[in-house]
């Protein structure tokens, strides 16, 4: 397959975007860093459609540091589907995938990828890489698409028993082998120094982001959850380049200034909310309603947690393996419970909201245990909104808002607020 097809793929997509893009509320973008973030993601997105780029499709958590060290564009189709949903492009894409045999009960991120490929909206990959972290479906879909494109598929097998002594070396070897193979196949130099540099950038960025997370513990919270949650996409996909360091540094400085001046994300913060899982990408009004209307600020999102320790650039593969293995959502649920417990304490949480993505078996299934083992004993209410991050066909704005009203009412009563 000739890579000049990418031009056609981009034109297909651009035509649709121009037709359908609805002006989304940009009022959440209050920070310069957020604009820098959009600009970086846009730049990477456009480069992925260029003929001369080497593009690797990667599922969440595939270390982008390795790809940047090889001068390969990491392309995260799941993130792009979220962008399509934001532009209301997914109705058609999902329908096409369903006609092709994909069930509506599967994850709509993955279904969206299948539909986009059928419609030629995605840039043709040179490689596809998936990990065993979290969901099982992404590896299946990537493997299937690798056959369609006749491109190499790489799989990073991360053991579920992350604490086993062999795990770090086992994952590290896979990462090293993968980098060597990709370098060889794409005529890139396997330059370990470039990887070490990428690890240094990654460390700097994650250090700033961890400080950002710490600033968000402040009362009143300096940042809106509606603005913060989309950083999760960037956290998963752009570690290892200096631009990421600039963005995280700018974000830190902007929030620090707000904290120093005592400026909160909203006036009169009433409640502090912990957000679990992702968000519905086709609407921005939900967060607006919770945060600005009800003054219940989403002070932290679990997806934005910097759970890994500083990496050692002298041992890049081992460090990246440790990063993968330290993902709190992976492995038995106890580790996740411990993290949730610390979030609740550190961020002075009043209530928890979870947006339970319909196609996800992995994240939603732990909710009851979190409720039973962590939240009940602390008397912290949780609202679980069953919905779909991408597929808006069954979303009912009114119903969701009614449930939020009831939830806020509970929080108000607990705090003794009057209506």
């Amino acid at each position: 397959m000739d890579k000049s097809i990418r031009r056609l793929e981009f034109e297909n997509l651009w035509g649709l975007l121009k037709q359908k893009r609805e002006k989304q509320s940009s009022s959440f973008y209050t920070l310069k860093a957020t604009k820098m973030r959009s600009s970086l993601l846009g730049k990477l997105f456009r480069r992925a459609y260029q003929k001369d780029s080497v593009v690797a499709w990667r599922s969440s958590f595939v270390p982008s540091e390795i790809l940047f060290a090889l001068d390969i564009i990491p392309f995260a189709p799941e993130g792009v589907i979220a962008m399509f949903a934001n532009s209301h492009l997914t109705d058609e894409i999902l329908r096409v995938a369903e006609d092709h045999g994909c069930s509506r009960d599967t994850c709509s991120f993955l279904r969206g990828i299948e539909g986009s490929v059928i419609n030629d909206y995605m840039p043709m990959p040179d490689f596809l890489i998936a990990t065993s972290l979290y969901c099982h479906g992404s590896a299946q879909v990537f493997k299937s698409l690798s056959k369609k494109y006749n491109k190499d598929f790489f799989y990073i097998d991360v053991p579920f028993h992350y604490e086993r002594p062999y795990a770090v070396d086992y994952v590290a070897k896979q990462l090293e082998d993968m980098m060597k193979k990709i370098a060889e196949k794409s005529n890139r130099k396997f330059d370990i120094d470039k990887l070490k540099q990428a690890i240094i950038y990654s460390n700097q960025a994650s250090d700033y982001f961890a400080k950002v997370n710490k600033l968000r513990m402040h009362k009143p919270s300096p940042m809106l959850g509606g603005e913060a949650i989309d950083y999760a996409v960037m956290l998963a996909h752009t570690f290892g380049i200096p631009e990421m360091v600039d963005i995280c540094k700018t974000l830190y400085e902007e929030l620090k200034e707000r904290v120093d001046k005592g400026i909160g994300a909203v006036e009169e913060e009433k409640h502090r909310i912990l957000w679990r899982q992702l968000r519905p990408y086709y609407t921005n009004t939900l967060f607006d309603y919770i945060e600005r209307t009800h003054k219940a600020v989403i002070v932290f999102e679990e997806a934005n947690c910097v759970y890994w320790k500083e990496m050692d650039p002298e041992q890049p593969f081992k460090s990246l393996a440790k990063k993968l293995l330290s993902n709190y959502g992976f492995g038995q649920v106890q580790r996740w419970l411990d993290f949730t417990n610390s979030f609740v304490i550190d961020y002075s949480i009043d209530g928890v909201i979870e947006f339970a993505h319909w196609g996800c078996r992995y994240l939603s299934a732990s909710t009851q245990i979190v409720k039973d083992k962590i939240l009940q004993s602390k008397n912290i209410p949780i609202l679980v909104i069953d919905g779909d991050c991408i597929d808006r066909r069954d979303y009912s704005d009114g119903q969701v808002k009614t449930r939020i009203d009831a939830f806020i009412e509970i929080l108000n009563r607990k705090k003794g607020y009057k209506k």
Partner: protein, 416 residues
């Protein structure tokens, strides 16, 4: 031929088949069919009775397991009885409090059965981490099911060169935890003995299933399902002896069966209603590529190599893969081989609602089977019988269409 135990057993089982085929002059086929049915019923009754007694007067520990990638050999080598737990197609109420609703029905049902006390006799439980749902089942099981010993057996998700190490480590982890909890040790000889026992079960079940390659299958799919389920929950030595004896007695009949020959593949399926629904439409399920079928008993552990290595090789290489192993190419090849061997007229691809590996695999499998002009029907069911009516109608229509494809096939064969 290599003179290994496995090789010898193969010859032995082949001898059984020859014996069966050469059995004297044949009486009228109808009488043989009735006799077969009686013999199978008696066999099932005997094994079930023995199981009941065993559970009543338990003399050794029992460990439950789910998922066919959990190596029974290891459990057996500890002197512990492996017991496959299966759900029940009753309504789900208790497990809803601990698992979300969009998880496949059989997983919910397993927890439901545990919560209502059906598995109280278990001394331990091993859950295979094959899907997102089973990983989450383990989290809930550990906290609410009340089994004294619990282990999550990690299963690799993709076949590649490093996968053997992963699986071996999973075995090591299992051995360490059983040793620590039950206080006894595994030895090389106990492991080899366990391999022999499990291999024998596989050989016998394969021989029984292969009887259906003939045009006049002496055993029905319902009987095969029942026997395979019994193999998973019985004292294997007793089961093997009984099944060996049954195999020598089963008679091949001359009655030609013109029913359409169906291959059933897809999600976990242990309930008879689906098979009954297919077979009430002039069709016979002659091959089950299921966890309660070929995926359980196909592929032997080589006894000539180091036991753990041999077990690893069996589960990764020799056992027919399930969709959880991201293995569409291997699965497609295997299914195509079965289609030829069992002279299949049509494939029923069954998916349990929310069972991701099969939901995601389906479009590729559909493309593959279409490219080979093999009729296929996809059906999606709940684990309970709530979708039975709808499924029956679809099956009826599908089997009706097989008439035309079969007729076309005969015409093509006739005219070259």
């Amino acid at each position: 031929m290599q003179k290994t135990w496995v090789g010898e057993e193969k010859i032995k089982t082949e001898d059984l088949r020859i014996k069966i085929r050469k059995r004297g002059e044949r009486m009228s086929g109808a009488i043989e069919l009735v006799q077969n049915e009686y013999l199978i019923k008696e066999f099932i009754k005997t094994v079930k009775k023995r199981n009941e007694q065993f559970l009543k007067n338990k003399t050794s520990p029992i460990i439950g397991w789910c998922n066919t990638y959990v190596p029974e050999e290891i459990i057996l080598a500890f002197g512990i009885t492996p017991y496959r737990i299966m759900g029940a197609p009753t309504s789900i109420s208790l497990s809803k409090a601990y698992l979300c609703g969009n998880i496949s029905g059989n997983v919910q049902s397993l927890l439901e059965c545990a919560l209502r006390g059906d598995y109280k006799f278990l001394d331990g439980m091993i859950i295979g981490a094959s899907t997102d749902a089973t990983k989450k089942l383990f989290d809930a099981w550990l906290r609410y099911a009340g089994t004294p010993f619990n282990h999550l057996f990690d299963i690799p998700k993709f076949i590649y060169e490093g996968v053997y190490k992963h699986y071996r480590e999973s075995i090591n982890s299992l051995v360490e935890e059983i040793e620590a909890h039950f206080g006894n040790k595994i030895t090389e000889s106990s492991l080899k003995e366990a391999i022999l026992v499990c291999n024998k079960t596989r050989v016998l079940l394969t021989a029984l299933s292969n009887l259906r390659k003939d045009n006049n299958p002496p055993i029905s799919s319902l009987e095969m399902l029942e026997i395979c389920k019994l193999a998973m929950v019985s004292d294997k030595r007793f089961f093997n002896n009984e099944l060996e004896s049954l195999l020598t007695k089963i008679k091949i009949t001359d009655i030609k069966n013109s029913a359409y020959r169906i291959l059933l593949t897809g999600s976990f399926q242990d309930q008879p209603w689906l098979l009954e629904s297919i077979e009430e439409n002039n069709a016979l399920v002659v091959c089950e590529d299921l966890c309660t079928g070929l995926r359980y008993y196909t592929g032997l552990v080589d006894e000539d190599v180091e036991p753990i290595e041999a077990i690893t090789k069996r589960y990764i290489e020799k056992k027919p893969p399930s969709a959880t192993l991201v293995s569409i190419d291997q699965r497609a090849d295997f299914i195509f081989k079965l289609i030829n061997e069992f002279k299949i007229d049509g494939v029923v691809y069954h998916i349990l609602k929310f069972d991701d590996p099969y939901l995601f695999e389906f479009p590729d499998m559909k493309e593959f089977l279409e490219s080979k002009f093999i009729p296929m029907l996809r059906i999606e069911t709940e684990y309970t019988t709530s979708t039975m009516g709808q499924v029956k109608t679809r099956l009826q229509a599908f089997i009706e269409t097989l008439k035309f494809t079969k007729y076309r096939k005969i015409e093509v064969d006739k005219n070259g």
